[in-house]
Structures are given as structure tokens and as C-alpha cells.
Symmetry: C2
Subunit: 130 residues, 2 copies
């Protein structure tokens, strides 16, 4: 579906600076490390509870998980469902918007996987020359 739409970024045409600023800010927000990992985890598993996410996303603290999930919920990327039972049960899943973001990042994940070796080689070369 993306391929059928017109992509304006190839041109050098001037873009409304305010819109560009907003887009930049949005990317900054969404390109956060934890956001990316939570996104991937939910892409892979569909529906997850808080504790399952905490275990699935290696190294994340409960504080950052909460914070990340709140921000993603606020941005409309994640849907949060509270089941009124004891003990509490809260489920998280991607919205269509969140899923589309995951697809948009596929190219970047792919690039990173394909070029990790090249980047590491470049780093070694750079570091050796002091």
C-alpha cells in the first residue's frame, strides 16, 4: 500500500519548516530504543501482559516499560486493555497505526542486520588510526 502512494521526499522541493519540525520531533519520539524493542516484541507476539513484556524486552526496567507503554498509548500506537479481576490483568497490543510503524521500520532493521559488519569494520579502522 505504501508503494502506491506518492513519495515527496525524493525531491528537493522546499517543505513547510513547521511540518518538518513536527515530523522530526515525531521520529525522535518514536525512534527511542525502548519503543523500538517494545514495538518488535508486540509485532512478534500479538498480545502481551505487562510482565510478559518485561521479560521479553531484555534489560528494560519496570519504570521505563511503564513510561514507554504510556507514551505509545498516548501516540495511538498501543491499545491497553484492563481486565477488572484479581489479580489485575492488563493486556497490550498494537493498534493498526502501531503496526504500520513497525512495517515502516522494517527497512531500518533490515539495513542494520545487513550492514552491522560494515559498520563494525569502519569503527575498527577509524579507531586504529587514532
Amino acid at each position: 500500500m505504501l508503494a502506491t502512494e506518492k513519495i515527496a521526499y525524493d525531491s528537493n522541493l522546499p517543505v513547510d519548516p513547521r511540518v518538518e519540525a513536527l515530523v522530526t520531533e515525531l521520529i525522535g519520539r518514536v525512534a527511542d530504543k525502548w519503543t523500538l524493542l517494545v514495538l518488535e516484541e508486540l509485532e512478534d507476539h500479538g498480545v502481551l501482559r505487562f510482565t510478559e513484556l518485561a521479560r521479553g524486552v531484555a534489560g528494560i526496567s519496570q519504570k521505563m516499560l511503564t513510561q514507554t507503554l504510556r507514551a505509545m498509548e498516548r501516540d495511538g500506537l498501543v491499545e491497553r486493555t484492563v481486565h477488572p479481576v484479581v489479580p489485575p490483568k492488563v493486556e497490550y497490543r498494537l493498534t493498526p497505526l502501531g503496526h504500520s510503524l513497525g512495517e515502516a521500520f522494517c527497512g531500518v532493521w533490515h539495513w542494520a542486520g545487513e550492514n552491522l559488519d560494515r559498520v563494525e569494520a569502519a569503527r575498527r579502522t577509524f579507531d586504529e588510526r587514532g
Copy 2:
């Protein structure tokens, strides 16, 4: 060229956790706000001097520009050419690797532009419900 390669990220197959950690770290490094903006600026204009970049990337401090360019050079994304003249002349341009990263991010830029309104609407809804 990317489309002709096998993409493994669609599957739920287990991935070497160490590789995944490296890929994650690389994305975190490269998805930095200033890196993205410098990348776009060099994509648009080809070759730029330090001061031209400073003016082109709105809001960046000289310190962050230096830092960003050094990191990108270390990662093999940017080539730095020093012309031994007075006053000094230093030119920056993307390497093929840097250019390929720019292409990989096209999907994300596109997503952000297309969905900015939706995200802002989601935020308003979220904030109103307190």
C-alpha cells in the same frame, strides 16, 4: 536491490541474542535526532562544508554537529575531506553506506509524514480523558 534479498524479520524464528543486541544498539546509535537530520541534509545537497551544515540543520549547536559528524564518520556513514588551505576548508559527503541508510529511513520519514495528524489526534484524545 533490497527487495531481491531474503528478509528474515517476518518470521518468528529465534535470532542469536547477541546479534540482536548489536543490531539494537546500532539502531539506537543511528536513529539519533541529529544524525537523522544531518543524513537528510547531506542526501539533499550532496557535499557540504561544516558551516553550511550548521546553517542547514536548524537548531543544532556546533558541539552537537561536531559530535554527530565524528560518530557518523566513525561508523562509515560520512566521508570527511580536509583541504589544506587557509582559511580551512572541510567537506562532508555521504558514503555509499550512509546513502543506503538514508534509503532505509525513507519508510520511516514517509510514515511520519503520513501519520502525523493521526498521532496528534490520538494525543489530544488521550490528554482530554485525563
